[in-house]
Structures are given as C-alpha cells and as structure tokens.
Symmetry: C2
Subunit: 450 residues, 2 copies
C-alpha cells in the first residue's frame, strides 16, 4: 500500500464505502471486502500494480463491471481490487478484417455503438452491463451464441499482464493460426486467476440484411425442445432461440401486462438475406406446427419485434416480481440438447416437492437454461431447500454429460462442483495455476482451492 499510494494518489481508494461497493456480490453470496481499490488507466499501470503486489504476496482481484454472479469479484483474502473500468478505449476497428481491438474496460454496449456506422456488430449480448475483459474472463455468452459462438469462439487475441508484471500478447489478428500453444484460451474463462487481460481483439460480423422474429407456444416442453432440435438439424439461420416455461410466462404476463399463452414458449429470431429468411421462417413454422405448437405469432413490424424481445429481456425482473424483494439464485447448467427435456423434467419434479417458485428461461439452442430459485437466503430452511435444488441440478447435468455452468462461471458459487465435473483434470488446472502464478496472488480462492 505504501508503494501504491504515491503512484496512484486519489485513484487508490481505501474508504469503507469504496471497499463495500467493490466487495459486495451481485448475488446470494455474502460480501468480502478488499483492503483497497486501485483504478488503473493503462497496461503499464496494471503491470506496475501486479509487480508490487507480487513482491508482497498481496492478493489482486480484477474488476470489470462487477456484474458476475458467482462471487467472482469478492475479496475473501483481502488485498487489492483492480478497477479496470477506466481502460475504456476502442483502440482499432478493422472494417475490412471485421475485427477490432479494445481495452478491457470497454462495455459491449459502447463497442456496438462505435461499430454501428461501419455496419458491423459484436454479437455476445448478455443480460447485464459488462466489460469485454470481464466477459472474456468468464467466457460469457448470450442469446446469439447459438449462431456466433461465445467469448470462447470470438476472442482472437489478448494483451495480458502476468502476475509478476510481465506483459505478453497472445493470439493475434490472423483468423487462424497453428503456431504454438493456445494461450488466448488459457486466459479466456480463467476469471482473473492467471493474470489481467488489458486488451482484447475480437471478431466482428456484418449486420444481417433481414431478420424475422416469431413467438411460439407449445403444449409441453418436449414439444418445444423437439422443435429446436429439428430447426438446428435443418441448418435454419437461427440467430436466437430462447425458451420460457409456464411459470415464467405467467410471471411475464403479470409483469409486462401481456396476455400470452401460459405454456412453454420459444422466442425465435432468424436472420440472413431476405429470401433466406422468408424460406427459413416458413420452414420453421411448419416444424413448429408439426411439433404441436399451440400458437405461432410472427412479429409484423419493427415495433412488434422490439416488443417481443423486450418481454424476453424483462424475464429476470418478471421472475423476481413473483416474489418481491427476493433476488433469487440463478442456476446455469448446460447439457447436450438431447438431454434437455429429461434434465428439465427431473429438476421440475424435485422442485414440485419443495413448493419453491422457480421460473425457467433458457438459451435452448445451446442446451443452457436458468432457473431463478426464489428463496429467501435469510430464512435457513428456505436457504437449505434452495441450495439443495441447485446442487441436485448440477448433479443431474453432470450425470448427463453437461456442465455446472454454461456461462456464469465458477467464482465461489460453483467451486464445490469442480472436483465432480473435472475429476483428475482439476489437478492439471492447479498445476497450470502454479506455473503461471507461483505466488498465488491472482484472485485467490476462485474456481478451486490450491
């Protein structure tokens, strides 16, 4: 701290309120405060902080927008929280190459504003205000991942500050490379436990010429997911394919004042050239009818489309409104698509025994779904039930070849499941951690214990 103060002056925060702001979780996990917060402005400054902390063995917790929900930015061992949000420059937009390089603190919203004039966009559209460095670090995804992939597929290269302050570049601007170990993917999803990402090179895409949204209601979940499997096999130009269950639809009707059928519902967006979209939409309607769709509603105007997607985006708030004052725990398993109906059915049967309210929304094209478990963490019995359901769901998903977390990451919340999910591979992760961060200063206590 003595070494940091003269360098960072008023960008070193030690007040209780600052520490509380940075050490509080966007979730059911309890707060854990850092000793201080440093607001950095450049890769060089990050290197400076890390070199100092590494010398003293002081923990460093990278912080983008703090929107992660598994306690990733908490500081259970104290130390320094590194606020990267001021590193917010879009450094380069390559229109011909359809790529860009940004500083880690740029949000995806900001990036897309800057891209619009070039007719390009970056597709990972998660439900929160988040930074691209944070999104890379949690391997984030969104509603369009079914089409464009997640941060795993879309990060081409990184600038990273290693724990000892050394600066490296990984990957590059070439679309593909067979040159050496894939360091980029080592840092994507590492949740700040291996170093600090300061710059990110991303793939971009042209804005499609045409797009059409459909809302489809089904009698049961099997019918809805069956329709999704077929649409994927036909290779339709699916841009988004989102699922809500009956309770979620009820919540939406209550919250949004809509009058939609209270049954399993798909939001589907198909994009491409105008004739491709027309063809694929017609085919999708046939598939939906064959699968027993109860109602198929095509958005007819841009306003209509915006309305349907606004309803989708309000789903979390609608869910929470079922039980005002309760934030809930959002589960995040992802399973092979063929297992999705069985996985959902089994967990719903468990939930039915408990009386817990747990509306469901899913990125169903990827086999990823969230239940918002609306329990009161202050009530020990409810907490126990909620945690038991969360645990049960992860066990189910793992037994079906799935993963404990499709997109939210591990942090503290999913740490207990890592041994079951990875087995002996977890030891290899520990070995990598020790090789990259021998003093163990980077975001200690996250993903796994050493």
């Amino acid at each position: 701290m003595q070494e940091l103060a003269p360098v960072f002056r008023d960008r070193l925060l030690v007040s209780a309120s600052a520490r509380e702001h940075y050490g509080a979780a966007e979730s059911w996990i309890s707060a854990a405060l850092p000793d201080a917060v440093v607001k950095v402005r450049s890769t060089q400054e990050v290197a400076q902080v890390l070199a100092i902390c590494n010398r003293h063995g002081a923990p460093v917790v990278p912080f983008g927008a703090g929107s992660s929900i598994e306690g990733q930015v908490l500081a259970p061992e104290g130390g320094i929280t590194l606020d990267l949000s001021a590193m917010d420059q879009v450094l380069r937009i390559g229109a011909e190459d359809m790529d860009c390089t940004v500083q880690c603190g740029v949000t995806r919203q900001r990036l897309n504003e800057e891209l619009r004039d070039a007719g390009l966009f970056f597709p990972v559209d998660l439900g929160a205000h988040a930074t691209l460095g944070g999104m890379a670090s949690t391997r984030a995804s969104g509603t369009t991942t079914v089409r464009y992939g997640s941060m795993r597929e879309l990060v081409l290269g990184l600038t990273v500050v290693l724990p000892d302050g050394q600066i490296i570049r990984t990957g590059g601007r070439a679309r593909k490379s067979a040159s050496g170990y894939d360091l980029t993917h080592l840092f994507v999803g590492a949740e700040g436990t291996l170093g600090v990402i300061t710059e990110v090179t991303l793939r971009l895409f042209g804005i499609p010429a045409a797009s059409q949204t459909v809302l489809c209601s089904f009698a049961d979940l099997d019918a809805a997911t069956g329709c999704v499997v077929e649409a994927l096999q036909f290779g339709l130009g699916l841009n988004r394919i989102e699922l809500a269950d009956d309770l979620q639809m009820q919540a939406i009707n209550g919250y949004c004042g809509t009058d939609l059928p209270v049954g399993p519902t798909l939001w589907v967006e198909i994009t491409g050239s105008a004739p491709a979209v027309a063809h694929d939409i017609a085919l999708f309607q046939d598939l939906a009818q064959d699968a027993g769709a109860v109602r198929v509603e095509l958005a007819t105007t841009p306003d209509d489309t915006a309305r349907l997607w606004r309803i989708r985006h309000d789903a979390l708030y609608a869910a929470r409104a079922l039980r005002p004052g309760i934030k809930g725990l959002s589960t995040d398993v992802c399973v092979p698509l063929s297992q999705l109906p069985a996985c959902i059915a089994a967990i719903k049967a468990e939930i039915a025994h408990t009386g817990l309210m747990a509306p469901l929304m899913g990125h169903v094209g990827d086999g990823n779904f969230h239940l918002v478990l609306l329990f009161d963490p202050a009530n020990p019995a409810e907490l126990e039930t909620g945690m038991a359901i969360s645990r049960k769901l992860v066990e189910l998903a793992l037994s079906m070849g799935g993963t404990a977390t499709g997109e939210h990451g591990v942090g503290l919340g999913k740490k207990p499941y890592m041994q079951a999910e990875h087995g002996p591979a977890l030891d290899l992760m520990r070995r990598l951690k020790c090789a990259v961060d021998p003093s163990g200063i980077m975001n200690p206590g996250k993903i796994f214990d050493l």
Copy 2:
C-alpha cells in the same frame, strides 16, 4: 524397451525399415528415426507406454497418419514412436446433439462415411489423409474453415493421457461451458508435446440443402481479394473460397488439360437453402463483376461441380509437375485479410529476383495462403534461396499482424520463428510445458527448445 516388449510383442517394431518408415518426413526436412515403434490399441495401452517412458525419461512421439509437413513426427532424440492409427473406432454419433466421439486414429474420411446416413458431416477437409487426433494436435483446417472454423472451433472435448500416464477428460458434450480452465484448447495445437489425445468429441453439421460452385477469373490479385472482402462483409453463405495465382493456373492447365484463363482465380462455393443460395450467388456475381472479374463460370451440373473441385484438389500435384521430381516447400503464413494483397505482392517481388518457381494457392477467406517453393534441397544455392524466401515471407506476415503458420503447425520447420512471433509469451509456453511434462518426454524438440 525391456518393459515394453513383453506387453506389446509383435506390436513393438524395432526393424530398420519400420524405424525409417516412421522417422521420414513428408517434407524437405531430413529424417530422424525413433529407437522403436509401438502400435497401441487403447487409452489404457497409451497410459501404460507413457508411464514406462516417463519413468525412464524416454522420448515419446505420437503418430497419427504422419502427414504433417513441418517434421512433427520425426524423432530427433530417438525414443518411442507411438502409432495411434489402430485406435480407429467411432465411439458415438449423437444425431440430435450433432456431435460425435471418436478414437484419435479415425480419419476424417472414415468419419464422414459413417456420418452420411445420419445426414451429418464433419467439415474440416484438409488435403491429406489424416487422423482426427493428428488434426486436433496440429490445429488443422481446410477449405470450409471460412464457414465452420478449424479444429480450434470444432473440438468440444478430449480424453488425454498425460506424460505420467494419468488419464483426464477435458471439455465435454455441452455446447458451451464456463467451468474452469480451457484444457481442451491447451492440447489442441500442442503437436503431442503435452500428452496424447486418445479420444476426440467433435461438433457436426447438417449437410446443406443446396450448394452452388463458381469459378471466377480476375485481372489481378487485388481485384480477387477485394471481391472476397466484400462477399464476407455481405455475410454471403460462403462455404469455400479458394484463390490461385496465374502461375498456379498455368500449372493446372498443364496438369489437368484445362483451358482456364491464366490469371488470379477464385473457386467459390455457396451453400444453404435453395433460395438463399440463389440470392447469394446472384449477389456474388454482381460483386465479382464490380471487382472486374474477367470470366465467371457457374457449375451447372453435379459433374461440373465435381470437376471444378477436382482441379482445385489437384493443385498441389499440378504445382509439383511444374518441376518434376521436386516436392517443394509449402509456405503457410496467415495474415489479416486486409493485408493479403500487400503480403502477396511483396513476396512475389522478392521471388521475381530469384527465378524460383512458386505457384500460389490460398484459403483466401481466412487470409491463409501457400506458395509451393519449387527448389531442389540437394542444390545448396537453391536451398539457400528457398529458405531465404520462406524466412522473408514469415517476417512479412509477422510485420503485418499475421502468423508463421495458419494450419500446418510448427514442428521443427517453423521453430526458428517462434521467438519473433510470440516474444515473451514463448516463455509462458515453456512454463506450461514444464508444468504438464516435467520430465520432458513428449515429442521433444518440437515447437520450441526448452
């Protein structure tokens, strides 16, 4: 060896001819023989061999089909070559999930035969007979990478035997996961230096309903690449987009008996639904005309299509026929698309001074191209010129933000360029190597020296 002989009996080969077969390179690099070859049949057997070799510090060189061209399967330090080609079971095809799991020795040709009935295919279609374990290990790609990605994007999970014989699983069958470090990508592209991949889980795709091939000739390379940039920005359903230069076209006319214009030429394949293909082909023709195409030929029948792609696939043989008896060195740089015309122009200017014949073919949608440098490695002056051009090209590519190897990998041939390409990140690769393979038995001397 004493420990291996009783276990593997006639599957342990020590004859000179066997050692020569496995220690010869598909390239200009000189042979380097192993002490013995072991033909394994299962993950357990691989684990057995590795545990024994690890105890004795004996080098192990994994061997799939041996088609790699940078000396990856040579044994410069002797030891055991591990022939994995008998591990050739397709273990599981998930039609609903559009994925499969295969043993590492399955070739892509075999896999696609097994998939055809399910209406599915695996898209990485490189120019050689290769195994999926070898393709994963070199991070291979092919003509359809512009649409579907390379092995980097298409491997979902692996079974890996670590150097000490421990068996781990990485990734899984879920389409996405934010759970822990990305071990899958650590092994994809590691060229057998970190362990042996014994099983691979792959993404599959539905065979598109329609497809159309076009051959387009241009007056100059800039016009051809300009047309590619536009087609990509319009988001056309490009499945393949391959470029040949004038010398390559001359070679093709000579070898295939065709009468195609001797100028820069694009092979384009567009796939999708029938109306999407019709729309995109029309748009592509417009773009090509605007870019100044000299001739645009649409394949009209399936035979015609097959003929055009056969010509493309024969390109390497056609190139070599320009100078019979000479295999040549195939360069492999990959640069951002915007840099491609400048990169090609600069290297062609260098080549012009030397009198070297060097026809060009490229996976131009990815910015990756190959020059076949037709020099005689037995002639010292020619060898020097050839190597100087190869080096100059890598330097050019790196200065343009590109990579020394888009798809062939590093092996021994590209090792001299790793420091220039990766800088201090190369040290991190070395640290990872030491963490995963502390005795240094796995494919020693490849990618980098320790």
